[in-house]
């Protein structure tokens, strides 16, 4: 292996001091050791090519969560990302600040968005009792269950690439929801039902996630925020929260497959809107009419799979078990 390799970087710059806040692209080229990380390359740029390039980093060991940036469009901890894995043949790589968060300068974003989201879920234990002696205790198994979420280093990569936050800044976001899940699962907390109800009811809560899996994909620590959100939805339903379109959608889907072995698309749309929600139902009508005119309205009577009775038996055997 050669001693050095050449790296070509295209970096998005932003200077708030410039009139109106100017954004521009700047290209750099540095020679580094072939084992280097993207962060090593950026530090090389800052120290030898351009001292004005602003970035944030500290531990260089994917523990502190400071160096989240977009590399070729996807959020990463640059200290955990090797140059050779991104540009095996010396391709130019694009570095941008993380998305969905306010840019302070160049590659540095403000942490306000992230922590305002985290604060919304009241991220601290709320026990309603005081142990007679000593500390609040929790079993080993209950803590192991929390490991995914507790691995979060608050780097903001999931927030950066969340496809819902891109269109709705009120969404509470993947990191905060994964954090909330951690408290609903902690045996020392006494506000599980209240937490679930709040996140079920509030605008921008657990049902606004689209299940796009971007957060699972970009999280450098295996928190898998979306999986935690799915677990919370299941828990919220089990705790009796049945007042949302999300619940009706899930329930309708579950029962449609139970009944027909297949999905009844028309019924799913009406169930999700709610049978008594006249404005929402009227809203569906023009879409249905347009589809019908093109000869593609889903059948009003659903197709059934040939063996739908066997599917029903399966449902029964699973439901009886629990």
């Amino acid at each position: 292996m050669p001693d050095t390799m050449n790296v070509k970087l295209r970096v998005k710059r932003y200077d708030p001091a410039d009139s109106g806040g100017k954004t521009w692209w700047q290209e750099y080229e540095v020679d580094i050791h072939p084992d280097s990380t993207v962060l090593d390359a950026l530090i090389q740029v800052r120290e030898h090519e351009d001292g004005t390039l602003a970035m944030r980093c500290a531990c260089r060991a994917s523990i502190c969560g400071s160096c989240g940036m977009k590399v070729n469009g996807s959020a990463k901890l640059v200290c955990k990302t090797r140059v050779i894995d991104i540009s095996p043949n010396g391709e130019q790589m694009t570095i941008e600040p993380m998305g969905n968060q306010h840019v302070v300068k160049d590659l540095v974003i403000s942490l306000d968005t992230f922590f305002n989201q985290i604060k919304r879920v009241e991220p601290y234990l709320k026990p309603s009792f005081v142990p007679e002696q000593g500390e609040y205790t929790a079993s080993n198994a209950s803590m192991e269950n929390l490991l995914t979420s507790m691995n979060c280093i608050m780097c903001g990569c999931c927030v950066s690439d969340c496809t819902v936050l891109e269109v709705d800044s009120n969404f509470i976001g993947p990191a905060a929801l994964a954090k909330a899940w951690r408290f609903t699962e902690d045996p020392r907390d006494s506000k599980r039902d209240e937490r679930l109800k709040a996140l079920n009811d509030e605008d921008g809560g657990m049902w606004d996630c689209t299940r796009c899996m971007k957060c699972v994909d970009v999280c450098p620590k295996g928190v898998a925020p979306m999986d935690r959100i799915m677990e919370m939805r299941e828990a919220a339903i089990a705790a009796g929260n049945t007042n949302t379109s999300g619940y009706r959608h899930t329930e309708s889907f579950y029962n449609s497959v139970k009944k027909n072995g297949r999905l009844d698309e028309t019924r799913l749309a009406i169930d999700s809107a709610g049978w008594t929600n006249i404005p929402r139902l009227l809203d569906l009508a023009p879409i249905g009419i347009a589809a019908m005119r093109k000869g593609k309205l889903p059948p009003l009577m659903p197709h059934k799979s040939e063996d739908h009775k066997k599917v029903r038996d399966l449902y029964k055997s699973v439901e009886d078990e629990s």
């Binding site: 469009g73 496809t163 819902v164 891109e166 269109v167 709705d168 969404f171 049902w207 606004d208 996630c209 689209t210 299940r211 796009c212 899996m213 971007k214 699972v216 994909d217 799915m230 939805r233 299941e234 339903i237 949302t244 379109s245 999300g246 959608h249 899930t250 329930e251 889907f253 579950y254 449609s256 497959v257 072995g261 297949r262 999905l263 698309e265 799913l268 749309a269 999700s272 809107a273 809203d283 879409i287 347009a290 589809a291 093109k294 000869g295 593609k296 309205l297 889903p298 059948p299 197709h303 799979s305 040939e306 739908h308 066997k310 599917v311 038996d313 399966l314 449902y315 055997s317 699973v318």
Partner: protein, 298 residues
């Protein structure tokens, strides 16, 4: 090649043109298929929110049926692909869980051993047929046609369950197909984002913003059409495009959103009607005219 064919609910419901065009293309290529008419819905990740195990059991039942036939499964839908791949991934790495799932299937005389592979038509064409062989069936090069890829989340994430490492062509399958038909890729950041369909009935305002952003951006970049392997993305990006574009951008729906076999069919010289292109909400007329004006190979 022969497949256990699983078209999915939407190809048999809200997007019948996908089913028809897929069969037309498969016939032209001599791909044999046996439709899994007894299989249930995959659950689309929605049923799984209520009961993950129920979803896994339904999918493993489908895998066992194909395994008995000795055939790989072919799907037409990114969501079917993703949900099935995830279920397969879960049971294959955990024999105890598989045994538990199999217990529920015993009454039907089914037992899954873990050998079924699941391939979207797009992947099957690239991996099993090969783009060079596919190209031999084309009668027209779609030169100058600008196509924006739109994958659908479930075809791109999570990469371990989708076996991207083992099959490196999957990451750029749509772009490769667009280039194979002679078209030009209109690249844009939204191509692997969410189309908004899963929250259509839950938060329609957000869903409409996604539809308007993706179709508007692709159009602004000069795309003649968007092509997707996911009929759920199609339902939202096509069906709701008029509403979304008016509501969010104050302009008109002008970007056709076509299915993968429709793109291939155009290169094979098939008619608009054979491919069901007249069944779209956003008119495909301009795009079809542009394609039909291109010279036919002799």
């Amino acid at each position: 090649m022969k497949y256990a064919f699983y078209p999915g609910c939407v190809a048999r419901g809200g997007a019948p043109e996908l089913y028809d065009s897929a069969l037309a293309v498969m016939e032209r290529l001599g791909i044999e298929h046996v439709e899994l008419t007894k299989a249930a819905c995959t659950g689309a990740g929605v049923l799984q929110e209520k009961n993950l195990k129920m979803g896994d059991i339904l999918n493993v039942r489908t895998f066992a049926m194909a395994e008995q036939m000795g055939l790989p499964i072919m799907v037409l839908c990114s969501t079917c692909q993703g949900v099935m791949s995830q279920a397969n991934h879960r049971v294959k790495r955990d024999p105890e869980y598989l045994a538990e799932v199999n217990k529920h299937l015993a009454a039907e005389g089914l037992e899954y051993k873990g050998t079924t592979s699941i391939k979207h038509l797009l992947w099957a064409l690239i991996e099993d047929i090969g783009l060079d062989k596919l190209k031999e069936t084309f009668t027209r090069e779609l030169t100058g046609m600008n196509m924006a890829p739109f994958y659908g989340c479930y075809m791109v994430r999570p990469t371990d369950a989708l076996e991207f490492k083992e099959n490196p062509t999957r990451e750029t399958s749509l772009e490769d197909l667009i280039e194979a038909v002679g078209g030009t890729v209109t690249d844009f950041a939204g191509k692997t984002a969410c189309c908004g369909f899963p929250i259509l009935f839950i938060n329609q305002a957000n869903s409409m913003k996604m539809v308007a952003n993706h179709t508007g951006t692709a159009k602004d970049l000069g795309a003649d059409a968007m092509v997707t392997p996911c009929p759920l993305c199609h339902l939202n990006l096509d069906g709701y495009q008029p509403k979304a574009r008016k509501q969010v951008r104050g302009d008109k729906a002008d970007l056709p959103v076509i299915h993968v076999p429709q793109l291939i069919g155009l290169a094979m010289g098939m008619s608009e009607k054979a491919l069901g292109l007249q069944k779209h909400i956003v008119s495909t007329k301009d795009m079809v005219r542009k394609a039909e004006a291109l010279p036919v190979k002799v």
